[in-house]
Symmetry: C2
Subunit: 481 residues, 2 copies
């Protein structure tokens, strides 16, 4: 809608930020730090967004104080090489380079805004450590990435018992309040207001009231992805149809669609994070197999990459197979209530019980055990520390059955929850790029409303990570007008 058709703006600010998750908070804080008058709009009743429901991991490296305190050395170059490989194919090389070079600074910015990290190290595959340890592997120590970059753990987990996203958002929200940033909740953006080719504000709704907001210098879209919008999922990411969604319910693609109406381009709309109902500590000690008993990946990879392989390559028809020792080795706190659904004294008995062809699982376990006894995994190169012949009795867990850890809610169809990684095409300062490849003046985006670091792949911490990192960039660029 055109600015001329707005009789009078109800509110005028320098920078308008839409969406109060981590990307919106970071954009607002940085715009305010640049001297701009800032307004944050949020459609929910309070700030936090999907960020507040997340595990609270942020992908940081290059030798942070936490890495150093835990005895690890790291460089931006090794971090860059790993992210390029693990987030590909078609990861954004320019954004990854900026992100890695700026990582130490970004760590300082986060801690400076009250985000806590504790120098403890959790040394086993997991979605979220059951302790409050602040450093964890996110797949850097798993093949094939060990051949590509020198491994260092870069999962920086905001100090918390359980999921840390709420701690992150509490810290950023306190900073937003302290900075004197205006916040309007229960306020839903409806459409951009354009002044010619330039984004000049937004028309929003607060219950029955329409509010026209003018942004003198810039608008930042930090509205999240589109996993909560079934029509957009069907149009752009058909393989995600019907799955559970990791979000606060507000990832409705609103910002993406508003910007598209102003000529913005979108990219890589089919990509997604796939969280599956799998306990990484159990899977790594056993086998991850498909419905005909075949392994398909080294079980020590970052569990989100296991999830992508399970969904995109095996339609989520996957099982964790393990023995008693493997189960007992994992503390109950890490098991998230998962119990083996099937137990048998022999592998033949197990495959019969779970309905696999006779011989399917037996031949896989036979091969695995034969090599594990030699300390080798020539099939998928799982690290030697996790290799041990499995012994009876055996158990199997059907990943499709899901699980329900208290913080996570219940997983959807097939034991998976997803969020989308595709979105608005943006430049290094979060500027939204139009269909001709030029910036839309005055319009910026960050977080999952934008296509960020990611190609096809995903790692924990890269969504809060690029959301806050490029959110800051977007806020500063918007403030500069």
């Amino acid at each position: 809608m055109d600015a001329d058709s707005i009789g009078r703006f109800d509110v005028e600010v320098d920078v308008l930020v839409i969406g109060y998750g981590c990307a919106g908070a970071a954009a607002a804080l940085e715009a305010r730090a640049c001297g701009a008058e800032v307004l944050l709009l949020e459609q929910a009743g309070g700030g936090g967004g999907s960020s507040a429901l997340s595990g609270g991991e942020i992908y940081l490296g290059g030798g942070t104080p936490i890495q150093q305190a835990c005895g690890f050395t790291d460089t931006p170059e090794e971090m860059e090489a790993y992210l390029l490989a693990a987030l590909g194919p078609q990861a954004d090389a320019e954004k990854i380079r900026e992100y890695c070079r700026g990582s130490l600074d970004h760590y300082g910015w986060l801690t400076g805004h009250g985000v806590p990290f504790k120098p403890g190290f959790w040394d086993s595959p997991t979605w979220v450590p059951p302790t409050d340890d602040g450093l964890m592997w996110l797949g850097e120590n798993a093949w094939p990435f060990t051949d590509i970059a020198k491994p260092a753990p870069r999962g920086h987990r905001v100090t918390s018992e359980g999921f840390g996203g709420k701690v992150l958002m509490n810290a950023l929200s306190a900073a937003v309040e302290a900075a004197g940033i205006q916040v309007r909740t229960n306020t839903q953006a409806l459409q951009l207001i354009m002044d010619g080719p330039r984004a000049a504000g937004v028309l929003a709704r607060h219950f029955q009231d329409r509010i026209a907001v003018r942004a003198r210098r810039g608008v930042v879209l930090a509205t999240g992805g589109f996993a909560d919008n079934p029509e957009m999922v069907a149009m752009h990411a058909p393989l995600l149809t019907g799955l559970g969604v990791t979000s606060d319910g507000g990832d409705d693609g609103r910002g993406i669609r508003m910007a598209q109406a102003a000529g913005a381009a979108v990219q890589r709309m089919s990509t997604a994070q796939v969280g599956i109902a799998l306990v990484p500590g159990l899977a790594v000690r056993g086998l991850l197999v498909n419905d005909v008993g075949q392994r398909f990946i080294n079980e020590d990879q970052y569990p989100g990459l296991l999830g992508q392989a399970a969904l995109f390559r095996h339609d989520l028809a996957v099982w964790v197979v393990l023995d008693e020792q493997a189960f007992e080795e994992v503390p109950e706190a890490e098991r998230w209530g998962v119990q083996p659904g099937f137990v048998a004294e022999t592998i033949g008995g197990l495959e019969q019980e779970i309905g696999m062809p006779e011989g399917a699982l037996s031949s896989t376990v036979h091969e695995y055990n034969r090599y594990a006894a030699l300390g080798e995994d020539p099939y998928f190169h799982k690290a030697k520390q996790w290799l041990r012949p499995l012994e009876p009795p055996f158990a199997a867990i059907d990943v499709r059955r899901g699980f329900a850890p208290p913080e996570m809610g219940s997983a959807g169809r097939g034991g998976a929850e997803v969020f989308t990684l595709g979105g608005l095409r943006t430049g290094l300062d979060g500027e939204v790029i139009d269909l001709s490849g030029d910036p839309v003046p005055g319009l910026f985006a960050a977080g999952r409303a934008a296509s960020g670091l990611h190609g096809h792949g995903y790692l924990s911490g890269t969504s809060l990570g690029d959301g806050t990192f490029f959110g800051r960039r977007a806020g500063a660029a918007a403030a500069a007008g």
Copy 2:
């Protein structure tokens, strides 16, 4: 660009069709049959497009004269059930229903325009029959589809020795000429001319000259997909990066981008047909395995679905493994020059030669042979007629090495050639749908510029099929103004 800014139009017609492949020809013919004055623009030096380079298979059914002559009964309902399953997930149910109900009529339209089909039946998996037989299976007789719809072969192959696309386009071109449709070749569309919200023509280039064409009633985009545009592939279909392309070189996404500039929506941009360098007749008599010797699909499925599984699930790292009898059973004409790259007296010797882990291929072949002797394939349900224990000596063919049948050109990286299935969102009459879900007045699209029947899956014949079927619809709708 706005119509007001065009001083004078160089050409005025009722219906303007851009792109002279099968969809453009069908649109032009039907618009002309409705009484419209029609102009066809083509950027190449002559008509044909990627359609002319195709195998010339058209997916038709419901009891065509060819099916009847070959002794098969069929119904639109069984055809619909198969297409919904094989082209999914998220195949377009409404388009598929229209397509199946209209299939007999469409067969009549094609033959009425001189497209020849011969009532002979080719009864073995293939990309294109080596004979001029006019009917072939396109996966209808393979599990799991045999559980979903009553199988009938629906691959109608335009009568030809070798690839039939050129015969199809020769027939349609003769009909275009006979109908008095104007054709301008070497003429590249640059941008749509809009009259307010309505598509009113196009600005084009003929060598150095700019030509403004006014379309009084409608514009039909039949410009093909975007597989030849690396930037669009990187943005929308990252897993296709660097692969060979099945096209005439002109699938540059031009029409998609022109329509997007007018507010059109796109959908399912990551999907693709994947032709791999695999001889279906050999694969079905042996095994298709990945780099660690695992089978992953019943080898009697339509080879395009084997190709999608090979690319999207196994990064094209796939092999055909077979024995001497299997190789000898396939006539040389069907082998397209493929020779086994690796031969060994034992499976152990073969896996060593091709660099698989010791035991990988052996355990797969052991399981396959054990069940084949019983006439069973509980792993992937290949039809009994193809099950036989493999016997020494054994051979392996690396699909990544590709092959070069005379008509096909050479396959690209990894032995695969692709074309894109995503494109403009259209309705049942080819009307282009905008970002708000409304038609763009005066604008239509068909063929691979549009998102057609397809969800994630693809079958031969459905691209020429929906291109001509919905091309006709688009032409008629455009002529109606």
